[in-house]
C-alpha cells in the first residue's frame, strides 16, 4: 500500500512538482534565513575568531561581549602574566575614535591596539606587506570591517589639508598606503591595508600597536581592554580561566565561552539582531505556512481516492500510514532540494558579494526537521477529514 501511496503522490506530475517546489522553497527560505542570521552572528564575534591563538580572554568583570567594553589599568597585564599556567599573555586595546580625513570630513573607527612585541592580533596584510610595518611610528593598518564607502579620502591635492575651510563633497578615492589621517590632532599614516573578517555591525577598523594607542590617546588612563592568554600545555583553557578568575578577580573566559557570551549579548542587546530574528521568524512562518497549506491541499484533493480505499476496506491506520508516507517523502525530497539550492546560492553569494552567510552543521538539519515537522503536522490535520470521511461519499456520483 505504501508503494501505492507513493504512486498517488507522484501520479499527478504537475501537482507533485508543485508540491516539491513549495517544500523546497520553504526549506530554502528557512535554511537561508538561518544561515544569514548565523553569518551575522559569526561576524559579531569576528574579533575572537581573528585571534584564534588566544585560549583565554581576560577582561573587566563587568564585560561580557566584545561589543560593549570598558578598559582596565595597564598593570593588569602583569597580574595575569603571573598566574601559574599562563604560557604567554598579550594586551589588546579597543577604543572608539574619530579620525579626520585630509579634507575635513571624519569617520568613526574602532582602533585595535595590539602587543608591540609580538604584534599578536594584527591582521594579514594586502599589498604583500607584513604586520611589522606597525613598528614604524604613527603607522596604522586600515580595514573596512564590512563597511562600504567609508574609507574615502579626497582625490585632488588641493583638497588635502586646505587652509581656508573644509573641502567637503569633493571627489574622493579609497584610502591608500601612505595616506594620512588625524586622530586627536596627531597624524597617523596608513602603512597597511587588510581585509579581515567583516564585523557586525560593520565598522571601519584601525589596527595599531599598543604603545601607539598610548601615544594617540594620552588622556586615557586605562587602555587595556583584553588580555589574550595562551595556556601552558599541562592545563586546559577552562582550568586556566578559572584560576585566573580566582587569583585576579577579573573575568576570564575561554575563547569558545567568550564567543557564546558575545552571541548571547547580541541576542539580548542588539536591536538589529532583534529585527533580523523577527524577519527570520516571519520567513519561517511564511515558508512553513506555504508547506502546510500545500500538503493539506494535496491530501484534500485526494479525499475521494481515500474514500474509495476506505470503502474497499482499507483501515484507518493504513490510510494514516499512506498519508504520512506521502508527506514524509515529499518533505524529505523537497527539503533536500531546498537545502542544496541554499548551499549553492548562499556560498556563491557570500563569495562574490561579501555577504554574511554561514551554513552550520545544524542549519540544514533544522531546515529538514522544521519542514518534516510542519509536513507531518499538515498531514495529521489533513488526515482528519479522511478518517472522518463517510466512505459512502464514493457512491455520490463524481
Amino acid at each position: 500500500m505504501y508503494q501505492i501511496a507513493l504512486k498517488m503522490l507522484m501520479g499527478d506530475r504537475a501537482k507533485y512538482i508543485g508540491l516539491l517546489l513549495g517544500i523546497a522553497f520553504t526549506a530554502f527560505l528557512v535554511t537561508f534565513a538561518l544561515s544569514y542570521f548565523a553569518g551575522f552572528i559569526t561576524r559579531g564575534f569576528a574579533l575572537i575568531s581573528e585571534n584564534n591563538s588566544a585560549d583565554v580572554w581576560v577582561m573587566d568583570p563587568a564585560v561580557n561581549s566584545t561589543e560593549l567594553t570598558i578598559n582596565m589599568p595597564d598593570s593588569t597585564l602583569g597580574r595575569v602574566r603571573s598566574v601559574k599556567g599562563v604560557d604567554y599573555a598579550v594586551p589588546m586595546s579597543l577604543n572608539d575614535i574619530t579620525a579626520r580625513f585630509p579634507n575635513g570630513s571624519f569617520q568613526f573607527f574602532q582602533m585595535i591596539g595590539v602587543d608591540d612585541a609580538t604584534l599578536a592580533g594584527a591582521p594579514m596584510l594586502l599589498d604583500g606587506r607584513l604586520p611589522e610595518v606597525l613598528h614604524t611610528p604613527d603607522s596604522v593598518i586600515v580595514d573596512a570591517g564590512g563597511s562600504a564607502g567609508k574609507l574615502q579620502t579626497p582625490l585632488a591635492k588641493r583638497d588635502q589639508w586646505p587652509f581656508d575651510r573644509a573641502h567637503l563633497n569633493v571627489p574622493t578615492r579609497e584610502l591608500m598606503l601612505g595616506d594620512e589621517l588625524l586622530v586627536n590632532d596627531r597624524r597617523i599614516i596608513i602603512s597597511g591595508r587588510s581585509k579581515t573578517i567583516p564585523r557586525f555591525p560593520p565598522r571601519p577598523l584601525l589596527y595599531t600597536t599598543y604603545s601607539n594607542v598610548t601615544h594617540l590617546l594620552p588622556s586615557e588612563s586605562r587602555r587595556l581592554t583584553f588580555v589574550l592568554v595562551s595556556a601552558q600545555e599541562n592545563i586546559s583553557p577552562k582550568q586556566l580561566a578559572n584560576r585566573i578568575e580566582q587569583q585576579t578577580g577579573l573575568r576570564a573566559r575561554t575563547a569558545s565561552e567568550f564567543k557564546e557570551d558575545t552571541v548571547h549579548w547580541f541576542l539580548i542587546n542588539s536591536e538589529d539582531v532583534g529585527d533580523m530574528a523577527a524577519m527570520l521568524i516571519l520567513a519561517m512562518t511564511v515558508g512553513f505556512g506555504v508547506t502546510g497549506v500545500m500538503l493539506y491541499m494535496f491530501t484534500y484533493e485526494n479525499l475521494k481516492q481515500y474514500a474509495v480505499l476506505k470503502a474497499m476496506g482499507a483501515s484507518a491506520s493504513m490510510l494514516l500510514g499512506m498519508i504520512f508516507i506521502q508527506a514524509g517523502v515529499g518533505a524529505l525530497l523537497g527539503a533536500g532540494m531546498g537545502i542544496g539550492m541554499c548551499a549553492i546560492v548562499g556560498e556563491s553569494v557570500s563569495m562574490t558579494l561579501d555577504y554574511p552567510f554561514r551554513m552550520m552543521w545544524f542549519t540544514p538539519l533544522f531546515g529538514i526537521l522544521g519542514v518534516l515537522i510542519v509536513s507531518l503536522t499538515a498531514a495529521a490535520i489533513s488526515a482528519r477529514p479522511v478518517l472522518k470521511l463517510e466512505p459512502g461519499v464514493v457512491f455520490s456520483g463524481r
Partner: protein, 242 residues
C-alpha cells in the same frame, strides 16, 4: 415477501431507518426499508432519484450506520460488529462498482485491480498476478499497464468490475454501473456481471434506473420514498429463481 426456505440469504434487512441532518434540514432517506437478497442472484434495486437507493446499499455494506432496524449480511449482524470488524467485512467479502468508476488515476489498470488484495495484505507480486488473470477475464488483459485516463469509460468500468472480483467476494454491490456509459458499453458491462452470477455463487445487487438493463435481473426490488414497495421476479433468466 415470504422466503423460500431452501434459498440461502445473503442480505437480510428489516425496518431500516435513516435520516440525514437534524431539525429543519432533516431528511428522511429511509423509512423502514425491508429487503432479502438470495445468495447467487442478481437483484436490481430500482426507483426514482432521491428515493434512498444509495443510502440503502451504503447501510448494508456497512459504509453508513442506520438509525434503526436490523441487517444481517453474509450471516453477520451489522448491529453487533465493531468498526474494525466492519472494515474487515468490506475488505474480505464485499466488492464495489461505482457509477463514476473511481479508479485511482495514478495506478495502472492492473495495479488498480490489485488494490483490494493489497489492502488485505497479499504480497505485491501475487496480487499483481491475480489482477492480471482477472483483467484477462474481463477482456482487458492487453491493456493492463494502461492508466485509467487512457481507457474509455466502458473499459474503465470493466477494470472496476475486475477490481470488485479480484478478492472473490461473496457480495458485489454496484451503484448505477451503466449510468455513465453509452448503451452498448452498458450492455457489455451487464453481460459481464450476469456471467459472474451465472458462473459462481456470488450475489449481485445492482442499483439502477436504466430500464434498458432490467432484462439482466433475476429479481427487481422497487423502491420509493425510503421503502421497498414491490419485489418482482423476472421470468427470462434461466437460473436460481423460479
Amino acid at each position: 415477501m415470504s422466503l423460500d426456505a431452501e434459498k440461502k440469504i445473503a442480505v437480510h434487512c428489516r425496518n431500516i431507518i435513516k435520516t440525514y441532518g437534524t431539525g429543519a434540514s432533516e431528511v428522511f432517506a429511509l423509512r423502514g426499508a425491508d429487503l432479502d437478497v438470495y445468495e447467487g442472484e442478481l437483484l436490481m434495486l430500482v426507483g426514482p432519484s432521491g428515493c434512498g437507493k444509495t443510502t440503502f446499499i451504503s447501510i448494508f455494506t456497512a459504509l453508513l450506520s442506520a438509525d434503526g432496524g436490523e441487517c444481517d449480511i453474509l450471516g453477520k449482524d451489522l448491529n453487533t460488529l465493531s468498526s474494525d470488524q466492519k472494515v474487515h467485512l468490506r475488505a474480505k467479502s464485499i466488492g464495489f462498482v461505482f457509477q463514476a468508476f473511481n479508479l485511482l488515476p495514478a495506478l495502472t489498470a492492473q495495479e488498480n485491480v490489485a488494490v483490494p488484495l493489497l489492502i488485505q495484505g497479499v504480497g505485491r507480486k501475487v496480487a499483481m498476478q491475480e489482477a492480471k488473470l482477472v483483467l484477462d477475464s474481463v477482456g482487458l488483459g492487453a491493456r493492463s499497464s494502461a492508466l485509467p485516463a487512457e481507457l474509455s469509460g466502458g473499459m474503465q468500468q470493466r477494470v472496476a468490475i475486475a477490481r470488485a472480483l479480484v478478492h472473490h467476494p461473496k457480495l458485489i454491490v454496484c451503484d448505477e454501473p451503466t449510468s455513465s456509459l453509452d448503451h452498448e458499453s452498458g450492455h457489455v458491462i451487464m453481460k459481464l456481471l450476469r456471467d459472474i452470477v451465472d458462473n459462481s455463487n456470488t450475489t449481485l445487487i445492482v442499483v439502477t434506473h436504466d430500464d434498458r438493463i432490467y432484462e439482466f435481473a433475476d429479481r427487481m426490488a422497487h423502491m420509493d420514498d425510503g421503502k421497498i414497495i414491490k419485489i418482482e421476479t423476472m421470468k427470462n433468466q434461466q437460473g436460481i429463481i423460479a
